[in-house]
Amino acid sequence: MEGVPLSAYLALGAVLFAIGGLGVILKRNPIIIFMCIELMLNAANLTFLAFSRYHDAPLRGTIPMEHTYMNGQMAVVFVMAVAAAEVAVGLGIIMAIFRMRETVDIDEMSGMRG
């Protein structure tokens, strides 16, 4: 998309990140809180990719240009892998809590005095 400036992608990422953060604060269902965390991760991914796609000069220093072009994509690849692991473990924890307490209300989970 030649006509779209970098600011548009960054603004979309900021708005999505804020909506995700709002959901994390507001919701009481831990599954939806997880979804909002995924939303925030995706907003950060979008920002990574936009910065990486739009920067047309290598970072200062002696790094060759062909190595800095790919850094944003690499960050997103690893964020995706970590998000997959996080979701698997997190949903396992939610299932274990539900089996133990028969509720998933996040406000009732005060066993750790958090």
Binding site: M1, E2, G3, V4, P5, L6, S7, A8, Y9, L10, A11, L12, A14, V15, L16, F17, A18, I19, G20, G21, L22, G23, I25, L26, K27, N29, I31, I32, F34, M35, C36, E38, N42, N45, L46, L49, Y54, A57, H67, Y69, M70, Q73, M74, V76, V77, M80, A81, V82, A84, A85, E86, V87, A88, V89, L91, G92, I94, M95, A96, D105
Partner: protein, 177 residues
């Protein structure tokens, strides 16, 4: 306003509306489906930035794997109508909306402002539109070459992390006794 900007605005409106749908819907399944729409729109946005491999893996990984896990979890928990959690009301909701507005304003003024409107390096290209991508920018070949040469240690650490995730989730899911 260029035609590309119109298309981008339409897609970002869909993305924002589906993100709002995640947090306003009280039914967890509807929230999950709204999140699927959001992920697919983000995948299309990746395609507009010449990121073919990441666009495909966004759709595959997020909507195929992560949202399937979410839907399975919702199915297993079986949160019916009596268990649907009523939302927090009153002061907390207003404070949360205020906090997220503050977050948006902070990010927009502190990050977007300097990027777009100062003389910082790259700011002229930030308003000018996308630069030409180098050859094979988002293809599987270039991404794979980069992962298996310069990022090989990160890849190995990531594989250990995924292995730990598998073991941990099996341990958590196993019934005691």
């Amino acid at each position: 306003m260029s035609s590309q900007l119109v298309v981008f605005s339409a897609m970002s409106i869909v993305a924002v509306l589906s993100a709002v749908g995640v947090i306003v819907s009280r039914n967890a399944v509807r929230a999950a489906l709204a999140l699927v729409v959001n992920f697919i729109v983000l995948g299309v946005l990746y395609f507009t930035m010449n990121l073919e491999l990441l666009g495909i893996s966004q759709v595959l990984v997020y909507t195929g794997l992560i949202m399937m896990l979410f839907l399975f979890c919702i199915l297993l928990l079986n949160l019916g109508a009596p268990q649907m959690l009523e939302e927090t009301s009153g002061l907390k909701r207003y404070v949360a909306v205020l906090l997220s507005l503050v977050l948006i304003v902070l990010v927009l003024t502190q990050v977007l402002g300097p990027v777009a409107f100062s003389g910082a390096p790259g700011s002229e290209s930030a308003l000018a539109g996308i630069p030409t991508a180098p050859d094979g920018y988002g293809t599987a070949k270039s991404v794979g070459t980069e992962i298996f040469t310069n990022w090989i240690y990160a890849l190995e650490i990531c594989s250990v992390l995924l292995l730990l995730g598998i073991v941990g989730s099996i341990l958590l899911a196993k019934r005691r006794g």
